[in-house]
Symmetry: C2
Amino acid sequence: MGNSKLYKGSLTTIIMKLLAEHDKMYGYEITQKVKHLTKGELNITEGALYPALHKLEAEGLLDVEVKKVDNRLRKYYKLTESGMKETVNLLTELQQYIQTMQHLVNPKLSLD
Amino acid sequence: MGNSKLYKGSLTTIIMKLLAEHDKMYGYEITQKVKHLTKGELNITEGALYPALHKLEAEGLLDVEVKKVDNRLRKYYKLTESGMKETVNLLTELQQYIQTMQHLVNPKLSLD
DNA sequence: AAATATACATCAATTTCTTATGTATAAAAT
DNA sequence: ATTTTATACATAAGAAATTGATGTATATTT
């Protein structure tokens, strides 16, 4: 994905958040959306994305709906009820992660 | 380490930054420092820490000096020249990561 | 006609981390 | 006096996430 190892572990959070905003998206669309939103900083590879989507579906966090558009196959994913709840958790964890890392990396701004 | 998968990939950054601040530290000291700085949020396990330190040493980013204190062994690690440069890169990458994730997660605050 | 873009997928290998286990000394608690 | 906790290192099997390569197929652009 990114040029930095830090992106390891954040793919699920990214997918879920995009789906929380856009209701339903297909895989390729997600890769393009992320590329544009990050101005090329982050390029999700297919080898990471598709297995991640399949796993989220298997866990019941995503529902899938197959459509044929322009004679090409698309798999539209959307959050389930439980997926919406999990998205809230993931976003909370992201904020917590960022705060913790800021503390560690910028201790001058905290009280230690 | 943390309760969230997001911490995957950040151990090296944490170690290097602590060594940039404290000149020399030993493994156990690092685990305790992180625990205190994060108020228990982040607990680095030995199974993650020691292999990470060995790898950084093998890469020439850390130097090691063994000392016996109170009849117990300690391995003090410190940044090499190249380790200091790499630390700057890692911290830049962390800031970039945080910015990118904020963009993705809080698109309202950005220009898309 | 060839190359690029769209759209899915899988798979071997790599990296990172977890969890368990092991050794050894010192200090604290029962 | 003995057990537990803390200090201090280490490795190793397995899990999980990702990389990078490869494959199929259609549509569009050069």
